[in-house]
């Protein structure tokens, strides 16, 4: 807002997200074709996903399991009786010209997800975002528009101006979950965090890779603004085409500004779908919604009702891992970690479990957290590895931290040998012994070295004794040099302090 009106209206944004998430099953939702990403076009297909005459869908039971687990993780009610419906519309990427989806009886409803933001004071700010529903459906194929004017390099997949279109049905029939949030989100930051939390949950469950770049997680945003205090919602606009959480955040910020400006200048807001354009960093109008489309939903006669038994539900419930929000609560409240550290540690389930394993094996919480978030994470980033791919086991990390704790080695030495442990694994203790890196903490042994060091630097000794006491650091450094860093820093300081004074 640039206009500086004397009595400035305060606005609030009302935001809801509709997320499509591809499930990481090996085969498609209703047939046996592979779901592998990036295969040669039209090779992961079969008569069923191609909608050939006479074929019938059969539900992949893994899809139901993943949907129910996601519903449970989102604190939803799981429908004891659910069904599939046909959503009808003609488009070449939809082989049957109807999509098998769920309409009025979705598998899960009425849940919530808790997002956690960290305020300026480092405190965790938690908020529940309602989940309206979760339903299962099949993905469509992919259209590639070719021959558009302007060449293949720029806007290659653009419908306008293209002379023909190709269809790749590899994606047709990949299982999707559609997850719809309540309009509980009030800012771009909250929306992005909602997306991240959802991705985290899906990854914790192992039901989806949640990869936004490859399109396995796609978020559409519904957004309207209204003056603070106003009851009714403003006109809703849908934004699509964001392929990162930061894009979601930027698109929403842009859209809030745009809508407020429109309201301030008295222009109507049109109910429409807008696309986020990454290169221009703005949303552009794609199509206006002429009322609601009539999809002529009706119950899918080829599939029976979905009935999840109580026993089955209990089994799946028992298989759920500790979820990100529960972990955060535990880390902050029971382990006493800061909100920031908690966020970093719990972002990836494997990292969190690695950290927890080290702590369980005796490592101090704070030290384990620091090492996992610091040197180990840096190493992972540098080598583009997952924590599961390093040779350093949580046990060895605990062992290493124990060696620091009991004074066997210094923290500095530990950092020095870490890369070798990360790459090759093995016992930290053995490595320290083999390399002769044990800390010199024997007073008489260290005293001799300290004496030698002082004797070797008479000039510095004189300056020290004339009042330049800062030089103690110099002597510590010299002792470390003579001992290859093995001298116990605390003891070295004690001895030097005494001997330098004479």
């Amino acid at each position: 807002m640039t206009a500086a009106a004397p009595t400035k209206t305060q606005y609030e944004a009302i935001i809801g997200l509709e997320t499509h998430c591809q499930l990481s099953t090996h085969t498609k939702i209703f047939s046996s074709s592979s779901t592998e990403f990036g295969a040669t076009p039209n090779t992961n297909i079969d008569p069923v996903c191609m909608g050939l005459p006479g074929v019938l869908p059969v539900l992949n039971q893994k899809v139901l399991e993943y949907a129910v687990k996601t519903g449970l993780a989102l604190n939803c009610q799981i429908a004891p009786y659910s069904k599939f419906d046909r959503k009808q519309y003609f488009y070449p990427d939809l082989p049957k010209n109807y999509q098998i989806s769920q309409y009025d009886l979705p598998i899960a409803t009425n849940g919530y997800l808790e997002i956690e933001l960290v305020d300026k004071g480092g405190n965790a700010v938690r908020k529940r975002i309602g989940i309206t529903r979760v339903h299962m459906e099949e993905d469509a194929g992919k259209l590639v528009h070719a021959g558009s004017i302007g060449g293949a390099s720029r806007n290659e997949n653009r419908l306008s101006g293209s002379t023909y279109s190709l269809v790749d049905y590899n994606r047709a029939g990949i299982p999707l979950l559609e997850i719809v949030s309540e309009p509980d989100i009030r800012s771009a930051q909250e929306a992005a965090e909602y997306g991240r939390e959802l991705q985290r949950i899906l990854r914790y469950l192992g039901v989806s890779d949640g990869n936004m770049e490859e399109g396995s997680l796609r978020c559409d945003v519904n957004i309207s603004v209204r003056p603070v205090g106003q009851e009714e919602f403003g006109v809703k606009v849908e934004i699509k085409n964001m392929n990162s959480f930061s894009a979601i955040q930027k698109a929403i910020d842009y859209e809030i500004e745009r809508q407020i400006e429109a309201l301030e200048s008295g222009e109507p807001i049109v109910q429409e779908t807008r696309l986020w354009e990454e290169n221009t960093q703005q949303t552009i109008s794609m199509r206006t919604k002429e009322g609601s489309s009539d999809y002529r939903y009706f119950p899918e006669p080829d599939l029976g009702p979905i009935e999840v038994s109580t026993a089955q539900l209990e089994t799946w419930k028992a298989e759920l891992p500790e979820l990100p929000a529960a972990k955060r609560h535990r880390y902050e409240e029971e382990l006493g970690l800061s909100a920031d550290d908690t966020r970093v540690l719990t972002d990836d389930r494997a990292v969190a479990e690695y950290f927890e394993a080290a702590v369980a094996l005796g490592a101090s919480t704070k030290q384990a957290a620091n090492w996992v978030m610091g040197d180990i994470t840096a190493y992972l980033k540098d080598r583009k590895l997952n924590i599961g791919e390093i040779a350093l086991t949580p046990a060895t990390l605990a062992e290493l931290l124990e060696l620091i704790e009991d004074g066997t080695i210094s923290g500095k030495i530990a950092k020095e040998i870490l890369p070798e442990l990360l790459a090759d694994g093995g016992s930290a203790k053995e490595l320290v012994e083999r390399k002769g890196l044990t800390q010199i903490s024997d007073t008489s042994a260290l005293e001799a070295i300290v004496d030698e060091t002082i004797a070797a630097h008479p000039k510095e000794l004189e300056e020290y004794r004339n009042g330049k006491t800062k030089l103690q650091g110099f002597f510590v450094g010299q002792v470390m040099k003579r001992t290859n860093g093995r001298a116990d820093p605390k003891l070295t300081n004690q001895l030097l302090g005494r001997k330098l004074k004479g």
Binding site: L52, P53, G54, L56, V58, V167, F298, P301, D302
Partner: protein, 486 residues
Amino acid sequence: MASIRELHHQLVSKERSAVEITQEVLQRIEALEPKLHSFLCVTAEAALEQARRVDAKIAAGEEIGVLEGIPVGVKDNMCTQGIPTTCASRILENFVPPYNATVVEKLAAAGAVIVGKTNLDEFAMGSSTENSAYQTTVNPWDLTRVSGGSSGGSAAAVAAQECVVALGSDTGGSIRQPAALCGVVGMKPTYGLVSRYGLVAYASSLDQIGPFGRSVEDAAILLETVAGYDPKDATSLKVDIPQYSQTLKPNLRPKGRLRIGVIQETFGQGLEPEVETAVKNAIETLQELGAEIQVVSCPTFRYGLPCYYIIAPSEASANLARYDGVKYGMRVPDAENLVEMYGKTRAAGFGTEVKRRIVIGTYALSAGYYDAYYLKAQKVRTLIKRDFDRAFAQADVLVCPTSPTTAFKVGEKTDDPLSMYLSDLMTIPVNLAGLPALSVPCGFDSQGLPIGMQIIGNVLQESTLFEVAYAYEQSVLWSDRKPSLS
């Protein structure tokens, strides 16, 4: 042409070879097809090849199955790998499926000789095969009359002995009505008994594949071969299939142990007197055989037809959406854009009746009409089921005429879809309730046209239907009469 058992005996005793049997059938097809038009495609070479395989097995002293080497016809809405499957529609004129329907796989596994694909009303929508985009199959008993439909090709082919048995599909009567009109046995099994995988869908919640035979036993043998649970069809039933043909007995169960309910509502307006007389005589015969006869009422029976004409077109409007010129089948060239390609292709590819049902179904499912039409029809469907449940509390099987009339003249009803729809009045409620029913020949009218009696059973009571039909058939021997084919 003999029965399956007789042919099997001839094969095993080396009286005749499978090739000889197949050649006889192929010669008959060649001679009769110019008049009958039962087949859309004859697979002579593949048939002879299969017959030779059977002969080789026999020569090697191997045991053969009862259907092995037996010529079978398959309705052209069941997918056959490498063999065109047109559904008698222009839109699938050049469609060659890359896979076999489960029933076709089962026929192949049983060693049956598939001689060709039989004619039907386009996408199985019709009661006379006159809606076929290619040809009308006429009635072997009177070549100026229809064979019935939609499985008219299969019914006529079996009646005219162009094959021994044939598969049809029945959504509202498409097996039983042509069976009645052509004087053969035809059965629609319990919904879910036979896999629909590979049956080109018309109305998914009603479609069911079933057998045609010149005798009850032949039909039973074909059904027990193709029935059974199929993991590829989520609506198929996980039940054991009895060997229906093994338990057939010429006598009914002891006197008074079989209760037959005569559906009162089916003997009324629109029923031809000669049909009524024949069915009533048949009921008397059953009584003489020891059945206890009583009149039962199914008050909602008459709502079957309107209910069907909401549900079936609704499902069809979605099922037929895939024929759009994008992936397979016909595509009208020179469209300016996508919507025009869809429109031109579907306008040229579908016939009038198919378009009519797509329009009705699309309308019935539209926002604002769904509750009034589709939802209400589903409720009526439930009421019809309940009526049947009540009737089966009183009776083991129900009987009524299969069709209110005998075969009508070609062209007689083509301009009046409603009178055509009435042809399925007696059969439709059975599909809506998912029940098994068969049509067995029960006489002829004064013009020599066959009349059929429908016997309806409770869910999975196919054995009872075969029991009753067989006992009846053995006592009357209508099946000894053969069409003159003139």
